[in-house]
Amino acid sequence: MAHFEKANSLNEWLDQRIGLNTLKRVLNTEYWIPKDINFLWAMGMVLAATFGLLVISGIFLLMYYKPDTNLAFDSVNYTIMSEVGYGWLWRHIHGVGASIVFLIIYIHMFTGIYYGSYKRGRELIWLSGMALFVAFSAEAFSGYMLPWGQMSYWAGMVITNLFSGGSLEAYGLVEWIRGDYVPGDAFLTRFFMLHVLLIPLVIIGLIVLHFGTLRLPHVNNQEGADIDFEEAAALYKAGKKKESKVIPFSPVFLSKDVFVMGVYFILFFYLVFYNFDFAMDPVNFDPADGLKTPAHIYPEWYFLWSYEILRPFGKDAGLIAFGIAQIALFFLPFIDRSPNVAPAHKRGLFVVWFWVLVIDMIVLTAMGKLPPTDPTFALIGQIAAWTFLALGPVLVLITMFEKKIGKGV
């Protein structure tokens, strides 16, 4: 048994029992972050804080929400919105948060792509991050079912139908997922379970993993410079903070994060209080009706790009294209053949590829929102979908021939 002495403070008492000081050192005061970063490096903690807000607002919504097809719609739109004191606040935080969290996720992802933060030892950071993106998507979809409005019902219908696998006609699987021939009570209650328990557990586990994958390779920096962290840390600890290339995660880096979060939360709560409508689809304020399809079914903005990849093709081809689009980004660390860890603007053609990807996803998003009837827009959507699918092989080619950047700059 370990040796225990009388502790002189709570800190000492805890340190003897759970190694508090070691924990603090490893996770905070001696977890080194490069100095050469910008505000985009704060998006990780912004995401963590937004997830926290979603959990807290969700806990309050949970107290009045009823997962029953007869009661769900009114429990949200009547009870929570007009009876429960400040119920509207939790709902608007939850709705706005669910939408904005995807905006930040996309910024976080594109930052990683731009600076090559998925390469040379950082592959697992990218993979665990992509797993988080999938888990957040599932969380958003299952949550979208809960108010049981028209968009909930028909999004549930369309998305569960994807599991019939096109010409495979696997309707048994679809009925199994729904627990009914159509989305009904069994469906609503099981998606409620997924939304409030199982998927959040998975997300929390993945966040821990995502943080863990960062610890050894450290976060990237603006130049992709290969920093000798031990040397830089020694300088910092010796008091030469100016000469050192690093700062500790806590309290120095965190205080920068907190500043960015401050700016972010001003915008966030402006949206919550004055401009929450964008996160509330008007069609979803009609109760679910299995005998009436809304004139135009579209997902929330953050799913539009992949939805648009599904649309211009026939059933089977569309499903395959959609499947490829869903998993394509996972492979980024392995299809980027260049050894350079550097910002895109120093990597020749890669910077063109990067901006084509960004613009293509914005075009897909815009086209996904438009009704399918206009042939010009349908054509633009089709071209954008093909462009997206072609970007993978193109990346392999241009990174194979990318010039190696001399190090030591």
Binding site: W154, M157, V158, N161, L162, G166, S167, E169, E175, W176, I177, R178, G179, D180, Y181, V182, G184, A186, R190, G290, L291, K292, T293, P294, A295, H296, I297, R311, F313, G314, K315, D316, G318, P371, P372, T373, A378
Partner: protein, 171 residues
């Protein structure tokens, strides 16, 4: 002695693994069955509809297993099709009213004599046949039916339905 110990530990390890595997498979099966549609949901799967009141070129929407059912009495001008349900001298289109692409409900455009799906632009004619080149891969599905005078029992397979199945007209 050491050898004997190792053999015993291997056996214990394998026995534990086997028991855990059996339990795991059992738990997975129970979980799968828990998500199956309930017997009460399955039992409510029969609906009778009366076709005698239908008017030509006027779409009637019924409900069967939570899904919309299109009933369209054909006018003499509309093309005949082996998919038609014939009662006396009348011909009817009876299909599940869900687009075969992703399950939206197409709207009937009376003047154009076609079903139009607003989700991805699919079109079906008055026999429920999909227009080629558009997302829906197959015609609107015909639900299992049994003719009973001028009435139709949905969910039960009558001889006419079985003939359609055998001819590959519906799935």
């Amino acid at each position: 002695m050491e050898e004997e110990k190792k053999g015993r530990r291997d056996f214990l390890g394998m026995a534990l693994g086997a028991c855990a595997a059996v339990g795991g498979v059992g738990a997975l099966y129970a979980a799968k069955r828990t998500w199956d549609p309930l017997p009460s949901v399955k039992a409510a799967g029969f609906t009778t509809i009366d076709l005698s009141a239908a008017k030509p070129n006027e779409l009637v929407v019924e409900k069967w297993r939570g899904k919309p059912i299109f009933v369209l009495k054909k006018t003499p001008e509309m093309k005949e099709n082996p998919r038609d349900i014939v009662i006396g001298s009348d011909r009817f289109l009876v299909t599940i009213g869900l687009c075969t692409h992703l399950g939206c409900i197409p709207a009937y455009q009376k003047d154009n004599l076609l079903f139009f799906c607003a989700c991805h632009g699919g079109k079906f004619d008055t026999s429920g046949i999909n227009e080629p080149g558009l997302p829906p891969p197959s015609p609107l599905e015909i639900p299992p039916f049994k003719i009973d005078g001028t009435k139709l029992v949905l969910g039960e397979e009558g001889p006419e339905y079985k003939a359609m199945l055998a001819a590959g007209i519906t799935v």
